[in-house]
Assembly symmetry: C2
Homo-oligomer: 194 residues x 2
């Protein structure tokens, strides 16, 4: 069981040893290969995830072309909240970009946790708040930043991913072509050398 | 007191006559002139709003230029959730685009409601879910739609606003110039006539 997961919980609520044991028993971890699809749009989400190690890409399909929107990494939750809670078709595609280890919270486990203690109800709200903040930041970044500024923000927030992801995923995330990303990188390098 | 507000509540929880009276007594309505700033970025949000009549624009400031991100209208909640709940500086600017009537939920009222009945705790979650879905749709729309498609979606979802808003707000919302918006409108008109 992931220490990081309990560290996250401990930031928000204090679990008793019994509650901890209940969580450990209930939530399995999964080792996923690179390229594994955890959720496809139009399907109904029945699980959400906490990333122990690895990276999961959120993408949308536009006329058959994948457009990357976000990269979730270590210690982040990945969920299609509306689909999971209301059992409506998902708008999200989630796929691992490298071998990834996740903690799996199924519909069934979620209900068991919520019934077990109000602490988990509180945690569910915290997770949702984090998701809301993530999307609000995405919107603000789309509107207020240029592709170059978005790339610099990406390096600042998720710099470690730069080596781990195919460059066309990053270009797609910035809404630009792979060629434009190359130009931006060169420009940044030049500025650094000055 | 807004009937629409109680209609919204009734979709999710059943209030007793006493609870209804408590809400009516607690939450004031306000008549705001056009151009009124309800929240400025970097300030701490102490209120959120339910629009009875009118329109509130969400915008971001980029090098002193206002970039419109969303238009909230009748029966929608307007909040800077993170700022309101955690008392951190807001990232949002909210401004009326026309004379607007809102129901005001202050920090103090919110606490009173939450302490009064767990029903309001449930409602708070519903409001947050709606906000999350709104932002998720914004992100999906930025990534998957062209400016013309975004304009068609705007007409479909908030068509009534088309006559009520200055065109440069709509252009800014689409991320294009007022001239490009004119061209898109002409193209759509031409297609209709064919």
């Amino acid at each position: 069981m992931a220490k990081a997961f309990f560290d996250f919980i401990a930031q928000h609520v204090q679990l008793s040893p019994e509650e901890k044991a209940f969580v450990e028993e209930l939530l399995p971890t999964q080792q996923l290969p690179k390229g594994h699809l955890l959720l496809q749009e139009q399907r109904i989400s029945t699980q959400f995830f906490f990333i122990i190690k690895g990276c999961i890409r959120l993408f949308y399909l536009v006329d058959g072309i994948e457009k990357s929107a976000f990269f979730y990494t270590e210690n982040e939750f990945v969920s299609s909240y509306e689909s999971f809670t209301k059992q409506v078709p998902a708008k999200h595609n989630f796929q691992t970009t490298e071998p990834t280890e996740v903690l799996v919270i199924s519909q069934e486990s979620a209900y068991k946790l919520l019934a077990y203690s109000p602490k988990f109800d509180f945690l569910a709200r915290v997770i949702m708040e984090v998701e809301l903040a993530t999307y609000q930041n995405m919107v603000a970044s789309f509107i207020t930043l240029s592709p170059e500024q978005r790339y610099l923000q990406f390096l600042e927030q998720k710099g470690a991913l730069q080596q781990r992801l195919p460059q066309h995923y990053i270009a797609s995330y910035l809404g630009i072509s792979a060629e434009s990303l190359s130009r931006i990188k060169k420009r940044i390098l030049l500025k650094k050398q000055q």
